[in-house]
Structure formats: structure tokens, C-alpha cells
Symmetry: C2
Subunit: 410 residues, 2 copies
């Protein structure tokens, strides 16, 4: 079964809410002239400095804004505002790129009347071009005007080749107080485990200790954002930030707080939902693919097998073509690097067991083809080697992926 | 510069020759009914048992014929014949698949009047279906008839989605005797480093010690067949075999023989040429891409960077679209896992330097676009960290790749 976005008794799911559900946050966005037409500059601002945890791309070519943002957050583990532009990644832009990122930060801090290091900056788009600083500064000078304030504007302004906004929010009770956690994300190409071309922003009004928030974010990221892939390319720019401004006035959350689990579960629901929405909106994708691996001898082994399957161009094209070519799934398991036992493995495509005891299972091909017409396709793998599991998400590989990427810039 | 297939003074290159150039080898092929129409069964036979070295897929799901062939070669490090079918991989076929592979071997040994373990068997095609043994046996019973004997038939019979045959041969002098080395290969999808869906067969009349032949093959494979990628999928079936029957009557070659280097260079020329032809004929490909990485701190580091670039779907689609999107090349270097120094790296697309000192170089985009219209595209990377180099080959990612793989079986 596909893991549904369930609401346990303690978690209220609000699919239509996002980063301004939590108390004390506002957001906005505008067109400042970087892209041809669409919104390209957005902000989130908290009334008070918020405890902040971040995870960042593992790509050695980290873009300038990531360097600035990491350095700034490190000062007191808090920020109060995020400024994002799309259309230009400010990556591979050298010393000038770094100066531009600092200037972006300074300009927005000045508009807000707060310290520079309380502003996180981030960029997404084409690599290797300098930011058009005139346009950007002119935008920053206006963006706090009331006419641009709207959560929806922010969600639009962070998109690149995305075809839709991604959002999710939950509410949980901590010490009897309502705590909201809401997020939005972008990213549909260059998506691969370990912070690929993706931006994720989550806000919460929880009062929480920084170290524990970072611990939760890292653990959850490994299960959600790092388990999606669109094309195997890990980008230079991407990050997920969680801002917790404490305005729900709960006792400070730590791992020892009795309501820790429900908070973490709520944060995970938000991150998982956003991750799946990114995978589903992969460039050119027509389907979300979910791979569940069970019976592995370790979590890492389960993840490696899941990632090998979800990353296989041959599996992705077969699913696009509604071809029940389970041999490609088995082959991907075989080169995942995990010492599996071929004859112990079971593979199912949706409800159809296709491989067991080292042999194909009898299937009615037309039935499996019909299943593969659905918008969400599940692949189940049982390794029979242990008790560890993982889930990975991706999308099919289509003509449109090639089309989009053969001419992204031109 | 693209490494040309050069003939040094001691090496004569014969582009139109293949596995029957060396003394004492014959080959043939026929249609036996596994595919719809095209030739699907082929053989190579040596007059005498030939010293044989093989390299095999690293996929854990090794297909039945690989198990049979490895076990057989291990008996005395010699074989006298190879039998290949295409259209059905005999992979993931369990105990019955193993029995079928043994039976294939036995039937052909019987026709030849030689010991079973002197016959190598191999299969390529769809995974998970049992071989149609009646058709196959009927084919084996006729295939040695004079009407099917033709090197060209063999080269055709091993193909699957390939659009052309691949061949290459050289002649070198060993002890003043002419030694021929000729090969053919197939494989155009599921091609990735470490023996991907690929079959390679090389014959030579050299007299050579087994251990030294295996040493040379492994070393050369790491520089050639293992440095190509089409789609990142490593298959269940594939192998490269080199048969050396000694009929050139040279003194036995070993690493200490004065002509060892020229033999090894000749074998490398054959393998590199076949590897590049496989990459160029990648499924749906319109271009051969060659990535040369220099200045790495180790050979493995150079290879890892080359493979990351050549495997990037985003680089591959950009080249298909003649888009000089060097940012994707830089990004791939950054996630290759090698600790490179961003500001020390230079990247060139053909003759155009595009990235240096952490910054894009001024280019006339139209000129680079014109270069990208060529059939062979070269990417040069200078890491400035050491003296090690590697070259990797691949192809662009096109609509036709998706088309071919969305409906391979149906």
C-alpha cells in the first residue's frame, strides 16, 4: 500500500496550507525582471528571530548564496527572513557572485531593519551568470509593499521548470498548545538524493531547541528529500530550511519532551509530502513512482536498493511506456552494490507479484499494463535479509524530459 | 584532441576486419526463430583450443550462460568455440535457465566433436523468459553448414537494439611473426561501466600465457569497456572474451617478452575502438561524447569525474539540444565524489574554454552551438591536482532513447 498522508489522532493535516499557517510568519513575491514573465523574487519573514536548521547540497560547487546563508545561520542559529530569487542560481559566479549574495542579504536586512545575518538568501535557476543586481535591488526595495504580500506569490516566485506549487501543513498539540508546521518546496530537474536542485522552506511556531531541530531535520531529510530522484543530478544550490519562531508558546521542545514524537512526526509528514510532490512534478513526468524496500540488513542497504531502482533510466522509461518489464527492476537491484541473495528476493509491481525464487511469476500482462496506466506506481521489493526498510520516490522518464532539458536555456 | 585510432609503426590498423582475421578462426550466424526476423544465433570456432581470458558483469544477477561459461573456462583456461544467441538473455530463469545453458553448450560441443567445457555460451536480449530450446537446438544442428559460415553473419547475429555492427582489427609483429587481433561487440542499451549489457569477442592467433592475457584484458577493460556509459544501467549478461589460439607461432608472450607492449597496445586499440563504437551506437544516440579528464590526483579520481559527466542526463540532453550548458558539466564534477578544488578547474567544450578560475569564460554562444552540431563532441576537464588522466565515452540522451525503451518488449 502507498503510504497515505494520514492524520493520526494527534496530527491535523491541512493540505492547502503552507508557510504562513504558523503564527508570526508572512510571505510574499513579485516579478523583478530576472525571468521573462513569471514571479522571480519571494520572501518569508517572521515577526521575531526564529531558531533555524538547514541542510545543504553535497555538491562541491556550492553556490554563493549557500555559503552566505550557512555562515549567517551559524552566528546564532537564528534567522528572521528568507529571500529567494528564481531564474538565476548565482552559482559558479566567483568572487562577484559572493559579493552579490551578500549585497542581496544586506539590502533586504535594511528594508526589514534587522541584522544582516538574520536574512537567509537563496537562488535557483541557470548556473554561471551573474545576478542582474539592478533589477534585484529594485525588487527588494518594493517587495515588502502590501500589494506583494501573499503566501501564494511566494510559492510561485520560487519555481523554475516546476509545473505546480508544492505545499503541505499540519497542526499538532504540544503541551496542549496548537503548533503549526507548514512548508513549500520547488524543484523538478537535477533532483537526486543529497539535496539536489531543490529548495524547501518549512515554518513552525514551535518553541524548540536548535540542536534538536537540526537533529530532527537531518533524520527526516534522509527519509524524505534525500530519497527522491528525478534525473540523478545533484545540484549546486539547494537547501531546506526550517524556521521555528516559538510563538506557539509551548515549553521548549527537545528530544526529551513528552510531545517530541508528535512534533517530529508532523515535521516528517510535511517533508515527505513535499518530497513526493517534487518527484511527481519531475521534469516531463507523467507518474509518481514509489519504491518500497523491505527485509534489508540495514537502513542504508534498503535505501541503496530503492535508489538504484528509482534512478534507473530503463525502469523509468518502461513505466512511462506502461511496460511491465520487471527484469529491469531486478537488474537494478543486482547492481545496487548491496550483496543481495537473488533467490530470496520478491518483487511486486502494485498488487502483482512478478518475481520470486529467482524466477518470473505468471502474470496477466494486460492486467499489469492496466495498473501501470495509473498516476502513482508502486514497486515493492522484499529482500528477506533482515528487518530494515526504506522508501524512495521518483518519476518516469519521458519525451518531455528530453525536450525540457535539451533546450532549457534557449 | 580526440584520440585517433592511430597506427604506430608497429601496428597495422584494419578497420574492416574482425574475428576471423587471426589464423584458424571461423565464424557464422543464422536465424533460428528467437527474434522476429533478424539473425539470432552465431558462433566463433577455432581450429584448436585457444587460451581464453574473460571479464564479466558485476551485476549480482548473473545470467545462466555466464555461470556456465565461467565454470567451463576455469577448467583449463581454454575454449575452442563460442555460441551466442540474441533476443533472449536467459537471465532470471532459475534452475531451468541453467539447464538450458548447459544443454546449449552440450549440443554445440556435440556438433563440433569437442569437449563440452571448450564451448562458451552467451545470450543477450529480454530478461526472464526461458529460451525456446526447440528452435535453438534446431538452429545448433544446422549452424555449422557451409551456407551459414560468414563473419558478417556472426556480427549480425549478436545484435539487439544496435543499429550497426562494430568491428576492429590490428596486426602486430611478435618475434617477427605477424599476429592478428580482431574483435566485434554488441550493446547499445543498459551500457554502463563494469561490463554492462555488452558482449565483446576478440580473437588472436598470438601464442600467449593465460595469466598474462587475463592481466592485459582486465587492465585494458578498465580503460575501455568500463569507461563507456549509455544509460547507467549495468546488465546481467555481459562479458568480453579474448581467445588466443597460438597459430601465429610466436614465442609465448608474457609480460617479460620484448614485444609485450606492442601486443598490449594492439589489444587496447581493438577494445577501445569497439567501446567507442558501442557508445556511439547507444540507444537513440545522435552523437559520441568523449570526456577527457587530466590533472587528477589518481587514475580512479580521473575516472570518477569522467564517469560523472558522461552519465549525467542533464549533460546528455544539453548536448543533444546543442546547448552549451557548461554549468551542468561543472555541477557533475561537483557531485562526482572526488574532492576537487572548484577554483583550480578548467573546462573546455571542444576548442572552447568555458570555465576557469571558478568563473565562466566569455564565449560566442553561436560558435559553441555550431561545434555541438558535430557527431563527436569532446569535453576536456583539467583538475590541476596531479598527473593522472582518464577518458570516458558516452552518447546524448534523445527522444529516441525514450521511445526505444518505453516499448522494447511490446
Amino acid at each position: 500500500m502507498l503510504t497515505p498522508v494520514t492524520s493520526s489522532k494527534e496530527i491535523i493535516v491541512l493540505e492547502e496550507e503552507s508557510v504562513t499557517l504558523a503564527k508570526g510568519f508572512k510571505a510574499g513575491g513579485m516579478y523583478c525582471g530576472i525571468k521573462r514573465k513569471k514571479l522571480d523574487l519571494g520572501y518569508i519573514v517572521s515577526e521575531v528571530p526564529a531558531t533555524t536548521a538547514g541542510v545543504y547540497t553535497t555538491n562541491i560547487f556550492q553556490a554563493a548564496p549557500l555559503l552566505v546563508t550557512q555562515e549567517s545561520i551559524a552566528k546564532e542559529n537564528k534567522i528572521q527572513a528568507i529571500l529567494v530569487n528564481s531564474g538565476n542560481a548565482n552559482a559558479c559566479t566567483g568572487e562577484q557572485g559572493l559579493l552579490d549574495a551578500f549585497e542581496m542579504q544586506k539590502e533586504f536586512a535594511c528594508e526589514l531593519g534587522i541584522k544582516e545575518h538574520l536574512v537567509a538568501v537563496t537562488s535557483t535557476g541557470v548556473i554561471g551568470e551573474l545576478l542582474p543586481m539592478d533589477k534585484l535591488k529594485s525588487g527588494i526595495n518594493q517587495i515588502l509593499d502590501a500589494e506583494y504580500e501573499a503566501e501564494d506569490n511566494f510559492k510561485q516566485a520560487i519555481l523554475t521548470t516546476d509545473t505546480c506549487i508544492k505545499q503541505m501543513a499540519v497542526q499538532v498539540k504540544i503541551d496542549g498548545k496548537t503548533v503549526s508546521i507548514g512548508g513549500t518546496a520547488k524543484g523538478s530537474g537535477m533532483i537526486h538524493p543529497n539535496m539536489a536542485t531543490m529548495l524547501g522552506f518549512v515554518t513552525t511556531d514551535a518553541n524548540i531547541a536548535h540542536d534538536d531541530l537540526l537533529y530532527a531535520l537531518k533524520d527526516i531529510t534522509n527519509q524524505t528529500f534525500n530519497m527522491i530522484t528525478v534525473d540523478g543530478d545533484t545540484s549546486t544550490n539547494d537547501m531546506v530550511l526550517v524556521l521555528a519562531n516559538g510563538m506557539a508558546e509551548n515549553e521548549q521542545l527537545t528530544k526529551n519532551h513528552p510531545d517530541w514524537d508528535v512534533f517530529k512526526e508532523g515535521l516528517k509528514l510535511v517533508c515527505e509530502s513535499l518530497a513526493k510532490k517534487i518527484a511527481k512534478d519531475g521534469e516531463g513526468a507523467t507518474k509518481l513512482i514509489e519504491v518500497q524496500v523491505n527485509g534489508a540488513f540495514s537502513t542504508d542497504a534498503a535505501r541503496a536498493v530503492g535508489k538504484a531502482i528509482i534512478s534507473s533510466n530503463l525502469v523509468k522509461t518502461a513505466i512511462y511506456g506502461t511496460d511491465p518489464n520487471w527484469g529491469r527492476i531486478v537488474s537494478a537491484i543486482g547492481y545496487s552494490g548491496i550483496p543481495v541473495e537473488p533467490n530470496a528476493i520478491k518483487v511486486a509491481i502494485g498488487p502483482f507479484l512478478v518475481f520470486e525464487d529467482g524466477l518470473p511469476c505468471p502474470i496477466v500482462e494486460a492486467d499489469v499494463k492496466e495498473y501501470l496506466e495509473l498516476e502513482t506506481i508502486q514497486i515493492f521489493v522484499e529482500l528477506n535479509q533482515g528487518d530494515y526498510s526504506a522508501t524512495a520516490w521518483g518519476c518516469d522518464l519521458t519525451y518531455d524530459y528530453v525536450k525540457i532539458n535539451a533546450s532549457y536555456r534557449t
